[in-house]
């Protein structure tokens, strides 16, 4: 059953060919068998899963099922879950049990899905390799000497190894799309404000956005249909109703204009990825799309801007971890300052501390104008680049990453090299527009390669439509890592 897509499983559940209990038991067993090699889960919620599966079966029998009732899913451990530990990959929250459910958790609960567990991630979603987790790195199912990408590495690896048919992730600078690309799955970062951030532990509030990861665009559409929508509890949530994302998947692509930004195909791009993109273009052209070269002139400033704004927002968001109200507290503090300083220094990992310091520096007195203010202005230029491009083309196609998955440990001593592995995904968060990564081939070494479709605000239906049509013509998305068949 595990080789089936979420959509196929949904059809079998509805037709009562399988039960949710059977399905859930099978995935729990696969997790038990394979998770030790991958470390994709921080917590497995076995008992709760079986109870939810029984309830789902009853709901299906009663004829009250939604499309996802009975489907097992995994939540990134950044989404607060009542009664289940929510660690955010940090020692700071190792003992934290949220007193409430995040909106996406609530949405999946009411749709009747089954929670298999909470997936591993870079601490506080800061990282591109999943090596910054307090719970140890996640391994790439295609080659366990390689990183799975980050920060939603646990979710991407779990979907790739078929330990879950779908998972949630969050994306601040590429944290859904980069691991999706490196693990060979489909992952969407929606428009900023499309998915509620309520109960999603904050890293950089003006950039963070939750979204789904699954095998196919169709599966992602099913999951997004549950997650998208207005939430009055998130003040940045967009008050606009969300469509059923599965309805437009088969739309015709004739006349579609796809832009190829020259800045994304230059120096530093792996030749195998460039070749796979060319092959992908031939497939969508056969389907009726037309491609043309475009320019996004401020692309090379995206990483600079991001590493001002994201750390600045992180330093203020993470000020709440003070060892007083919840989370880690150091032993035997001598006074309040000692309590703050030691709880934070012992509770946070290296990368999180680096970003807090960068953030505190750029926001400190005398530097605000030169850094934060200037970065906000350059951010506007980056957004304008995209808006201008969308006057000429409907969507933009780029590689998701400059290279396939790199080795564990390879970039751990060089933060800037690590940051630049997100170079193709960052600008999308700065502009607040949606981006979808999906499998487009494999390297000679057998590692998955990803392509990214970028659209204007609320263009998720179009991005999923293109990827779905492409996936009807190709088989990259249905490949399973050899050791996890």
């Amino acid at each position: 059953m595990h080789n089936k897509t979420l959509a196929a499983l949904s059809r079998e559940l509805q037709a009562k060919k399988i039960s949710s209990v059977e399905l859930t038991q099978q995935y729990l067993q696969r997790i038990q068998q394979h998770n030790p090699q991958l470390n994709a889960f921080i917590t497995v919620t076995e008992e709760r899963a079986i109870a939810q599966a029984k309830a789902a079966d009853a709901r299906i029998s009663a004829g009250k099922a939604t499309a996802l009732t009975g489907i097992p899913i995994a939540q990134k451990d950044i989404f607060c879950t009542r009664d289940v530990k929510t660690t955010c990959g940090s020692k700071m929250l190792d003992n934290f049990i949220a007193p409430y459910d995040a909106t996406p958790v609530e949405q999946f609960n009411s749709a009747g899905t089954v929670l298999l567990g909470k997936t591993n991630m870079d601490e506080f979603a800061m990282g591109s390799s999943n090596e910054n987790s307090y719970y140890g790195p996640v391994k790439n199912p295609w080659n366990t000497a390689k990183i799975p990408g980050g920060s939603s590495g646990g979710s991407a690896a779990a979907v790739a190894a078929r330990l879950t048919p779908g998972a949630t992730g969050t994306d601040t600078g590429g944290s859904i799309r980069q691991p999706a690309a490196l693990c060979g799955v489909t992952g969407l970062k929606p428009t900023y404000g499309r998915v509620s951030r309520y109960g999603m532990i904050a890293f950089a509030s003006s950039l963070d956005q939750g979204g789904p990861l699954a095998q196919t665009a169709e599966d992602v559409a099913l999951l997004l249909t549950v997650m998208a929508g207005y939430d009055p509890r998130d003040s940045t949530s967009i008050n606009q109703s969300a469509p059923d994302y599965t309805r437009t998947l088969n739309d015709d692509l004739h006349g579609l204009k796809i832009g190829l930004p020259v800045e994304y195909f230059g120096e530093g791009l792996d030749p195998e990825i460039a070749r796979s993109i060319e092959e992908m273009i031939r497939v969508v052209e056969k389907l009726g799309a037309k491609t043309s070269k475009i320019s996004l002139p401020h692309t090379d400033l995206a990483a600079s801007v991001y590493y001002v704004l994201a750390p600045a927002e992180c330093s203020s968001n993470l000020a709440r971890y003070d060892g007083v109200r919840y989370g880690y507290r150091c032993k035997d503090p001598v006074n309040l300052e000692d309590l703050y300083k030691r709880s934070r220094s012992e509770g946070f990992g290296k990368e999180v501390k680096r970003r807090i310091l960068i953030g505190a520096y750029v926001l400190s007195s005398g530097y605000y104008e030169a850094y934060y203010r200037r970065a906000q202005k350059v951010r506007q230029l980056i957004r304008t680049d995209f808006l201008n491009a969308f006057k000429e083309v409907d969507v933009i196609l780029t590689p998701s990453t400059p290279t396939p998955a790199f080795n564990l440990g390879e970039k751990m001593t060089d933060p800037v090299a690590m940051y630049l592995s997100d170079v193709y995904t960052i600008a999308v968060n700065l502009a607040g527009i949606p981006g979808l990564s999906f499998p487009i081939g494999f390297s000679q070494q057998g590692l998955p390669l990803g392509g990214q479709l970028i659209g204007s605000y609320f263009s998720e239906p179009k991005l999923l439509n293109i990827a779905h049509r492409y996936q009807q013509e190709t088989q990259w998305h249905s490949q399973i890592p050899p050791n996890f068949k």
Partner: protein, 98 residues
């Protein structure tokens, strides 16, 4: 421009992080590298561009001023490292007069 160890210590204090002497030097180097990446944005002419705070130029929504949350003090205190009689406990803040 490059960052000094003294500046890093000062920022660490502002962020309430303690750093050992051995940590300061490699950290200063890392932060300096990150700031060089950041400083690339100074090369561009930004002119009269308006700073961007929200992708969709949304403004803060306001709700009616009514109570929406119930009191869940006991539930919230379950996560507290130390609490007593419904209060969070921290080391003594005020010095006693002797």
């Amino acid at each position: 421009m490059s960052l000094t160890g003294e500046e890093v210590k000062k920022i660490a204090h502002l962020a309430r992080l303690s750093m050992s002497e051995e940590e300061i030097q490699p950290l200063t180097r890392d932060l300096d590298n990150i700031l060089s990446l950041v400083n690339k944005m100074n090369q561009t002419d930004i002119g009269a561009v308006a700073p961007m705070a929200h992708p969709l130029e949304a403004v803060q929504p306001l709700r009616d001023d009514v109570v929406t949350e119930t009191n869940q003090r006991d539930l919230f205190l379950q996560n507290a490292p130390q609490s007593l009689m419904g209060l969070f406990i921290v080391p003594q803040v005020l010095e006693t007069e002797e």
